[in-house]
């Protein structure tokens, strides 16, 4: 893989392997120094579930891990009045905290509810795909820590990468495709 080639970082998620152990959430919070201090709105990634569905004893439950979708067409970047929300060199949506005036419009604009106001930095915060880890060749904390490796992270521009191979071989979907955001999280179906 040449250094100069443009990256397209994506995550391929196999929700069927997720058993809701919360390792991704805690690893993310430790990695990124996020102290929720009991505040239920403070988190960068999450696992949603409709709960136990059906009537005893015919039951099912599904878990869907998610986070900032790192959209190729990100509404949060479009609405940001100060360009605090921007696309970085690798095309990832990042927030420059120094420019953020905490207007909160990006929170409203995000169809995935991925953003929140950080109690530590007092500005808007969200998943960065752990770009500080990518920069040193590591995987995002949520990917790395997962017992069953629900999330697979990699460069979709590299045809040899695991993510490219997975998407070539499996059916998949993205969340809220109609919003036109072009997410970088792909869910195997």
């Amino acid at each position: 893989m040449t250094e100069n080639r443009k990256k397209r970082w994506v995550m391929v998620i196999d929700s069927r392997k997720c058993f809701d152990c919360k390792a991704c959430d805690v690893a993310c919070k430790r990695e990124n120094g996020i102290e929720a201090k009991g505040n239920r709105d403070v988190y960068r990634n999450w696992i949603t579930s409709r709960g136990i569905e059906g009537t005893f004893p015919n039951l099912k439950q599904r878990f869907e891990p998610s986070q900032c979708q790192q959209c190729a067409n990100p509404p949060c970047v479009r609405v940001c009045p100060t360009r605090a929300s921007h696309l970085d060199r690798d095309g990832l949506v990042q927030i420059d905290g120094r420019r953020c005036i905490v207007c909160g419009v990006c929170i409203l604009s995000c169809p995935y509810d991925a953003r929140f106001k950080s109690p530590q930095t007092k500005v808007i915060d969200k998943c960065t795909f752990c770009n500080h880890r990518i920069a040193v060749g590591k995987q995002p904390a949520c990917v790395d820590t997962c017992p069953t490796k629900v999330r697979v992270f990699g460069d979709l521009n590299d045809p040899e990468s695991e993510v490219s191979r997975l998407l070539a071989r499996h059916h998949y979907f993205v969340l809220k495709p109609k919003s036109g955001t072009q997410p970088s999280l792909f869910y195997l179906s």
Binding site: F19, D20, K22, A23, A36, T48, L59, Q61, T145, K149
Partner: protein
Amino acid sequence: MTVTRRKFIAGSLAGVGALGAGSAGLRYVSQAMAQPTRTEQTRYVNSSCNICVSACVFRGQVVNGVIKRLEPEPDFPKSRGMMCARGNAGAATPYDPNRVKSPMIRTGKRGEGKWRKASWDEAYRYIAEKTNRVVAEEGGHRSCIAFASTKGTFQEHYFHQFREVFGSPNAVRHPTLCLSAVIRGFQSVFGTYPAVDVRNSHYLILAGANLAEGIIPPATIDLFKRPIGSRKLIYLDPRFTKTAALADKWLPIKPGSDMAFALAMMNVIIGEGLHDQDFIDKHCVGFAELAEHVRQYTPEWAERETDISAGDIRQIAREFATTPSAVFYHGRRTTWQGDEVQTRRAIAMVNAIVGAFDRPGGLIPALEIPLAPYFYEPAWYTKFRPRLEQGDVTFMSPGDGAWIPWRDRALRSDPYAIRGLFIYKQNVLEMLPDRNKTLELFAKLDIIVCVDPFMSGTAWYSDVVLPESTYLERLDPAVALDEIEPVVIFRQPLIKPLYDTKPCFEIVSELAAYFKDEDGAPLSDYFEGSVESHTKAALADHPGSLDKLREKGFFSTDLKLKFGEYRSGKKTVRTKTGKVELYSEDFARRGLEPLPVYRRPADIGEGKFRFVVGRHAIHTHSSTAAFPDLNWHMKENAVWINPVSARKLGIKTGDTVLMKNRTGGEVKIKALLTEGIRPDCLYYANGFDSLSPDKPLVYGKGASQAAILESHFESISGSALLHETIVEIRRA
């Protein structure tokens, strides 16, 4: 999506700037962002986790002297490069403001929370004076002092070294609250509590073994990480757990009837000739007796006992017998109900008759890398009494004891009085069933000493608390883990101790100087070297291994598991007959049933419920519910109740309910209506309503399992039977 966040946004965002702290926020950020770049110094230290017994190896990231992350070590074979929520949250433990920061001596009444800080010398002197006085009053019988401890640290053996040289037989450890029954059951059949080759099994039956929430590496990972459809998982549990969510088939079995299910499986397998005759002929004894015995246990009979249809039982039995890598997972905590050891024997036999032993995907005795043993001089005492509950249990493990009968005898001073309790890490008050009984025992004791980094409920009710350094601040000796892929691990400090704390070895070897043996020699004479020298000695046969430990946190050798060594006769099963024992002459000789005989659990009675316990992936017993990162996910526990039952009692989700057991235990807790539990059962998670105000996140929040569980045990292994708890519930 996340409802709370949406609500928050919709409610509070009136327009641009409404969320904003504006310039104040900006200033804060620019300072925060300017700081790290220049001075940041990061180093990595590999060590092993201590938040549960699995001891996963991690890469500890220390930034400017502060532990930032415990990342998974990708090469560590046991955990397959993962770190669970609890392991990640552990990074914050040294910095917990509620740690015990120096030795503490109680000044008020027990449990009142009045303490004074003490020097180690003062604390040791205080303990020794009280203890020696009590021993003198008991005529020099040191058995009046008992020692409770739990697995998980690698320094527990030092605590019991102290007990042995001090001269007390009364050790009470965790196994009878955990897996003593399954160990005894499988040992009686296979001569060992084997490993399960989950990775290579394509058909698994789990009976109550909630591997998605009771995370056991590598079994949990091997079961759920693999491609969907590459295995079939049959899961029996009165609750719809997260394992149930990922299972191919969930069967809400009637609690206490697992043996009936196993016996009926054998009825089908043998009746239809699906058993592995070749394996049985070569490697088993007692098949004829077993075949005759299980003829009575038809699937139709079992349907009435288990609430699992005869059709399902037949299908599972057939699939199990005809899938070459099928295995019936043995389980871990098996403190359930009834004839627990015999239930585990029946499950072991299901495996045996299809040859699910010493083959890929089956049961296989684990391997352990040999380390040089730790030696110390034994102390000899003329005044000796056997442990309290010696005669109450058929297979007594002298180093473990049996908590339930032991506590009953201690309460009655039968046959002699227990006057003091030394505790290492075990949260006796919050883990033992029937907290009232434990409090009653505590009230009888003259001296209670607790070694713990945290003010657990047990520490709160002690006389002296000796703070141990946390697992991230200390060196722990090398330990060999017996596994399919055996490894040796240890612990090394990531940071220096933040407070006036010590590792267990230092604590007990220093305390020993304040005690004498019968000949007047100080007990400290029995303690030699240091954790470091013990580690070096243990590794003597493995040159260069200490460097590997320091670098990677683990090492393995060329010791690799090979299947077929028992089948070929190279290795022998460690039973008396050297064969897999389906009929146990040993049990018969001891007056126990040589084959598992099913007895229907007593009817729980109209309007009553069976209380079942179980794990949650973010909790290790009672010890982690107050970790801020984990507590965030569950701030309070709630009792699961099926809506059909709840409707009859007028209970709705969020209602406060009163639960009462048959022995005076009662709790108040909020109700959670869920389809995910049998209508005759109730459940809530462990770790809440701590007795210790120094665990503020769980003090007075929800309810404690220890408060509602009744105290029962079975006498073959001494295992507690937690699910024998029958409760009433009503709106409070």
